[in-house]
């Protein structure tokens, strides 16, 4: 009887109702949380003898990886990313990203190392260090090569259609793309990377790329705005397509993209302007969260092997940072003369140190793309 | 105020032939009703007069002008639609003023004429109400007002009462008659309800299935002298007896079974009918007398048993099964609370009627 009274009290009933509802909500929320946590579980589902590698597309050929898997029984999971910034974002989001090895560009290593995402490399376990050109070692982003070793290098230059420019390019200079009076064609392709574009502008203006002030950035911005009318497209991927389809006769591009097309089309050529250009280094780094050291070093030593590196370089027209491979690499895969380390032209390719903040770069880029 | 003439109209939708060589003449200034069962093509006739459909062949004349190829908006004919088709995004005033505004009358003129209409239909208070908010009867008034403000030669009404309830219908019918008298324009009223048509029309046409006219005439003519079984049975209720004709001493008899024959009036073509094996006769139930005791002075007499009694209030309907199996309906007025003679189930009764009150039908 008393029980009944207890339940029939309106206030109690209301209270119980709320409790039950909260209970239901809690049940569903816990289901949801469990579902989300599933994403962490996937990490434990991969086989023990496996490596997770993050890299750009077209850096290591799949056949090479298959061979490695066959030889050692270590499974390689490859994740491709499309920009260094995307990689960093991913790292910041999932702190314990299931990752062992990364092949990033040079400028991203410093922030990654600072944030503690990278592990120091044990030089004793690497058998390839002596083969790397000293020119690529000890650069400003990692002075003692504690975290990284270079594996490929490349530069920005001009790709063009020979049949359009019968006597070759009128000038071998960045003014072809920046100077209104000197542009050789109505429309051309330009890189769509703010850092690279700023560096090229600095080389054209012949400023010291190691220190830039706000005033100079303003001038670069107005240079870009001025340049816009004769730029057909800003792109990081389509340069080869633009040249071969004859959409634009002249494009600013990374060498490897153009050389890949040069192998198939005789009509194309690549050149590096006399003012010098940007050096891009691809490096190997190890994730701090990785615990698979043995396998990592086995893999590292494997990909630096002469044959393996040669295969990748020929497949994707990459330039190796390893001396014995580069010296043997046929000229057609290099696509440009006198560029090897030690030769005079090489002196004019420089790394762009991280002297600008991301915000400064953004401001320039957004401002000129808003016009 | 113009008459309408339809000549040799043929109309088909796809492979369905709705009308074939259809002819009809509608006199001017009259309330004309077009009555027929649903699906007989009466709405198609109306839509052709309005211009929504063009006839495949044949001509339509409004007065002396041929309007069969004239666009809808050029005809001086307006329609009151079945569900009124009031423009939902306009208020009452705008709905009524629509056609005047289309014709670009001066605003003051529009105001004056719409006000007049509103007053005439007694809906001044609804002037700025949305048409969605007003009742069915009010909507109907608005629809009629909208159609007649244009002062058309002919007003077409397509079953305008279908959406109203019984009680309202009777009142609106009377109002429609008054309206027609007041405006004097030709009204063409399409319906499948015979009481509406009989009440309202000066003249009416009955359409049968297959899209042809069965009979045209005043309500009285149609009711009292139907020319076909279809008309007789469609308009009001009737008893249809059949048999074959016999001529004896200049008198015409209808032999309905071996023992009974009925005296029938002569009509124009009785000689033709004499040859036919099956001839029909219509006798309205209210024109028949019923009695248990023999009566004198009637020209016809049959005997039957009562099979059903249905009490209607003002009258009682008796179903009498004749010897040959035919069932006749008889309406008796309930004139007295306590009739002298009560008729019950299974009573054997005499059925009497006068020869003149029956009609020989053409088929």
């Amino acid at each position: 009887m008393e029980n009944n009274n207890f339940f029939q009290n309106k206030f109690i009933q209301f209270f119980l109702k709320i409790v039950v509802r909260l209970l239901f909500i809690a049940i569903w929320v816990s289901f949801l949380v469990g579902f989300i946590l599933l994403s962490h579980v996937s990490k434990y589902l991969v086989p023990q003898r496996s490596l997770s590698v993050y890299m750009w597309a077209d850096k290591i050929d799949e056949s090479v990886l298959h061979k490695f898997e066959k030889e050692t029984g270590i499974k390689i999971y490859v994740n491709y990313y499309e920009s260094n910034e995307e990689l960093v974002t991913k790292f910041e989001i999932g702190k314990d990203l299931n990752c062992d090895l990364i092949l990033p560009s040079e400028y991203i290593i410093e922030p990654l190392a600072k944030a503690g995402f990278l592990k120091k490399i044990d030089k004793n376990r690497c058998n390839f260090i002596h083969r790397i050109y000293p020119e690529f070692m000890g650069k400003s982003f990692d002075p003692n090569n504690e975290y990284s070793f270079p594996i490929y290098w490349d530069m920005i230059g001009l790709g063009y259609t020979k049949s359009y420019f019968n006597d070759g390019l009128p000038l071998n200079s960045w003014s072809l793309i920046f100077d209104k009076n000197l542009i050789p064609c109505k429309q051309m392709g330009m890189v769509d990377d703010s850092r690279e574009a700023i560096f090229l502008a600095v080389r054209y203006l012949d400023w010291d790329y190691k220190k830039l002030d706000e005033n100079q950035l303003e001038q670069i911005k107005s240079l870009f705005i001025e340049q816009k009318p004769w730029i057909g497209a800003y792109t990081d991927f389509q340069q080869g397509y633009f040249l071969t389809s004859r959409t634009y006769p002249l494009v600013v591009s990374q060498r490897e993209i153009i050389v890949r097309e040069m192998l198939l089309h005789d009509d194309l050529a690549f050149t590096m302007p006399d003012e010098g250009s940007l050096l891009i280094l691809s490096n190997v780094v190890i994730c701090a969260s990785s615990t698979k050291d043995d396998m990592i070093y086995e893999f590292l030593n494997y990909i630096y092997k002469h044959d393996v590196l040669m295969h990748n370089c020929k497949e994707f027209c990459l330039l190796p940072a390893v001396k014995d491979v580069l010296e043997e690499l046929p000229q057609e895969y290099i696509g440009i003369e006198d560029i090897l380390p030690g030769q005079p032209a090489f002196e004019r390719i420089k790394i762009f140190p991280n002297i600008l903040t991301q915000k400064q770069i953004n401001d320039v880029w957004i401002a000129f793309k808003s016009f | 105020m113009k008459s309408i003439k339809l000549e040799n109209i043929t109309k088909s939708f796809g492979s369905d032939i709705i009308l074939k060589n259809f002819n009809l003449e509608i006199p001017s200034g009259k309330f004309f009703a077009l009555l027929g069962p649903s699906g007989c093509g009466k709405t198609t006739v109306l839509r052709m007069i309005a211009g929504f459909e063009t006839p495949d062949s044949g001509e339509i004349y409004l007065g002396d002008t041929n309007i069969s190829r004239l666009p809808i908006n050029k005809r001086r004919v307006n329609t009151v639609f079945q569900n009124y088709a009031l423009f939902p995004h306009f208020d009452v005033f705008d709905n009524i003023a629509y056609s005047l505004r289309i014709k670009q009358f001066a605003p003051e003129e529009i105001e004056r004429r719409v006000e007049k209409m509103l007053k005439m239909f007694g809906i001044e208070s609804l002037k700025h109400k949305s048409v969605r908010q007003i009742s069915g009867g009010q909507q109907q008034r608005v629809a009629i007002a909208r159609a007649v403000i244009n002062e058309p030669d002919v007003l077409l009404l397509d079953e305008p009462l279908a959406a109203l309830d019984m009680r309202l219908r009777e009142r609106v019918l009377v109002e429609l008659i008054e309206l027609q008298e007041e405006l004097g324009m030709t009204f063409i009223y399409v319906t499948h309800d015979q009481t509406e048509a009989l009440t309202v029309a000066d003249k009416l046409a009955i359409m049968g299935k297959g899209g042809h006219i069965e009979q045209v005439g005043t309500p009285k003519e149609i009711y009292e002298f139907p020319r076909s079984t279809m008309v007789a049975s469609f308009v009001g209720s009737t008893n249809i007896l059949h048999g074959f004709l016999e001529l004896e001493r200049e008198q015409l008899y209808l032999r309905i079974d071996d023992r009974n024959r009925i005296l029938v009036p002569k009509i124009d073509n009785w000689q033709e009918l004499l040859q036919q094996k099956k001839v029909y006769l219509s006798i309205r139930p209210e024109k028949v007398e019923l009695s248990k005791t023999p009566l004198v002075g009637f020209s016809n007499h049959v005997v039957g048993t009562v099979s059903a009694i249905i009490y209607h209030g003002r009258s009682t309907q008796y179903n009498i099964a004749l010897v040959n199996g035919t069932v006749m309906q008889v309406f008796e007025q309930n004139e007295e609370h306590f009739p002298k003679e009560t008729i019950d189930y299974d009573d054997v009764v005499n059925v009497y009627w006068q020869m003149e009150n029956s009609v020989l039908l053409k088929n």
Partner: protein, 260 residues
């Protein structure tokens, strides 16, 4: 004159419109059978690009991811949508209308919002986050469809069933569910298509860690023309047209069954 304008000009216009709508897709499909790599030069019939397509490991992986995400998202959004629609009908709340907004909020806002949310709670991006995003998108489609179907259900049927002593579950299973069945099928197919086609949410909430077919097409388009993309697009087109055809037929049958 006016009459002729509507009788001739309008159908002509609609015809041109249909050509505009379909021509690009048709050309794309035709050229996926072109032997040559360059567009617009017909060099003979060939299935080589399809051969290439079926031998690419990456495409298969992207395809598997897409299938996995689409099916999970369809299952989740239809289940949840069904529960919501039925529950809110019985509770007589209008909460369902709230889900109509999912289509109206720009994709990119949802995507960026989720990205920042996931990053704050450190949820690694991947298939799970993708499923979450697509389920949200899917709810915007399933809830309106299921709701409008449920509204057509004569509620007295449910009451009659309950009145005859059936339990809530039994009523749902044998009265409501059979009635909703076509709508459930339609919305499932729709969510699968939407999930397969979605780009923006996939791009932000998964990126490279779980590449879907859309993302794969995106990366391929970014580097220019490739006949393999033609072949892939053709297959995707045929599959989605098949699904849409199934949806249309279902709806047509539904209309017939309801005697409309």
């Amino acid at each position: 004159m006016e009459f002729r304008l509507r009788k001739i000009a309008l159908p002509l216009y609609v015809g041109i419109f249909c050509i505009f709508l379909y021509l690009p897709i048709m050309i794309l499909m035709i050229y996926s059978f072109n032997r040559g790599g360059f567009p617009a030069q017909w060099q003979g019939l060939s299935f080589c690009w399809y051969y290439d397509l079926f031998h690419s490991v990456e495409i298969w992986r992207a395809f598997q991811n897409s299938i996995c995400v689409a099916l999970s998202a369809a299952f989740l959004s239809v289940t949840f949508g069904l529960m919501l629609v039925y529950g809110s009908k019985r509770l007589k709340t209008n909460i369902s209308y709230f889900f109509y907004s999912n289509i109206l909020v720009p994709d990119i806002v949802i995507a960026v919002g989720m990205l920042s949310l996931f990053s704050y709670f450190m949820v690694p991006l991947g298939l799970i986050t993708l499923i979450i995003g697509h389920t949200l998108l899917g709810l915007g489609f399933t809830v309106p469809i299921l709701k409008s179907r449920l509204d057509e259900l004569d509620y007295r049927l449910v009451e009659a069933s309950l009145d005859l002593g059936a339990s809530t579950f039994y009523t749902f299973r044998y009265v409501v569910l059979p009635f909703l069945y076509p709508a459930i099928l339609v919305s499932t197919l729709l969510v699968i298509i939407v999930s397969f086609d979605d780009f923006v949410i996939s791009f932000f909430c998964a990126g490279s860690s779980a590449q879907t077919l859309s993302l794969y097409v995106f990366t391929m388009i970014r580097s220019g023309i490739s006949p393999t993309v033609n072949a892939l697009s053709t297959i995707m087109l045929l599959v989605s047209s098949f699904f849409i055809l199934a949806i249309s037929l279902l709806q047509a049958r539904l209309a017939v069954r309801d005697g409309k």
